[in-house]
Amino acid sequence: MRHVLTIAWKDLRSELRTKESINAAAAFSMVILVLFSFVLDISGDAREFGGGLLWLVFAFAGALVLNRSFAREQSNDCLDALVASPLPGWALFLGKALANFALLAVVELIALPVFGILFNADWLRFPGWIALTCALATWGMTVIGTMFSALTVNLRLRELMLPVLVYPMLIPVLMAAMQLTSALLSGTGITGDDWVWVKLLIGFDIIFTSLSLALIDVILVN
């Protein structure tokens, strides 16, 4: 467990020192928000499309952070140095996932108020639920993103393959998060029909976290 924190801290420290991907992701999320304002007919009400818009922004901006996760290890063959050390594969994965989760959370915290202002959305009506939805969905995104970042790290066409593989895998999470967020933004809150999405998020997180932890060694050691 100490190793997990060591890795998470290392990733966060190197990222916060340059703020490369976090700045890029935050800037990109603003760009998408503006782009969507052209596409959608906005009459000062984000109730219907708010959830969808928000999670598309998180997904596209988050991908910038997630793609960098293992690419960062590549430059000096750092990944080899880590894998050869006594650090277990699962600890490496969890540490990187925790760091990514924190970075995505920062991007979301930057994007949410801007979204609220630009699209006149009252995203703080159910603060607990919004936080829970964001946490569950972001963890799901993080696990898939980190895992596929590791999977594709040595591939020739990684930039091409990553989006093709990651976004379809993410659709369940995004769909659930969109449904829940839309319900929260529209002011109805979580009703009986929405529980299936909460369950889906929890199930998704559990299944893919376990799958990743079970399979990460296969990916790291070739």
Binding site: T6, R13, S75, N76, D77, A81, A84, S85, V221
Partner: protein, 235 residues
Amino acid sequence: MSGAALDVRAVWKYFGDFPALRAVTLGVAPGECLAMLGRNGAGKTTLLKILAGLSTVSQGSVSVFGSEGHSSGARRKTGVLGHGIGIYDELSARENLELFGTLYGVANPGQTALDWLERVGLNHVAHARAREFSRGMRQRLAVARAFLHAPDLLLLDEPFTALDDRSIALLQRLLAERLAAGATVVMSTHQLREAMELATHWALLVRGKLVHKGERTPEILADPAWVYRNYGEDS
């Protein structure tokens, strides 16, 4: 072969259907310094990666200090220096060494890091980012990373390639020191002279096959190229 530092038995490694290693059997006793020779593509790096636990065997078995596979105990006693330097550009020299000190379970990572920075002559830039270092400084930092947990087994992949004079001298001094402390060293190399000075044994890989393993005799030290004249080419 109990008590061996490394025991490689009938190891095959396939990349697809292509055998990169063919039935390699190799024992390395504690305290040996083995220079592994062979052309590019002969399988030196593949074998070292398997020994370091970065790669799996297709057939056969590898045990390090008597433990099959790569237990965390065996990994803790192993120092690895590969082609890449394994240093994080965004972290400072000290943070890099502290990170690996922590991962290898060194007693006091902070102090160990400072001690090693002094040993490799980087204490004046301990808090500077590795990105800003010159090539030679980065190499010395990488050497410190591989040695800082006083490993009993050192796996070095072409350690002398592309090193400057100062780094070569440093590496040789550190290797001699670890060998004197009873550690085992396996290194692949093209730099026969530098390697043979330290080596107690040498081995030759040709197209994935181990064709020779034996003691380094004084004659070889006098004329290292003899190796290639006698065993070099098979076609």
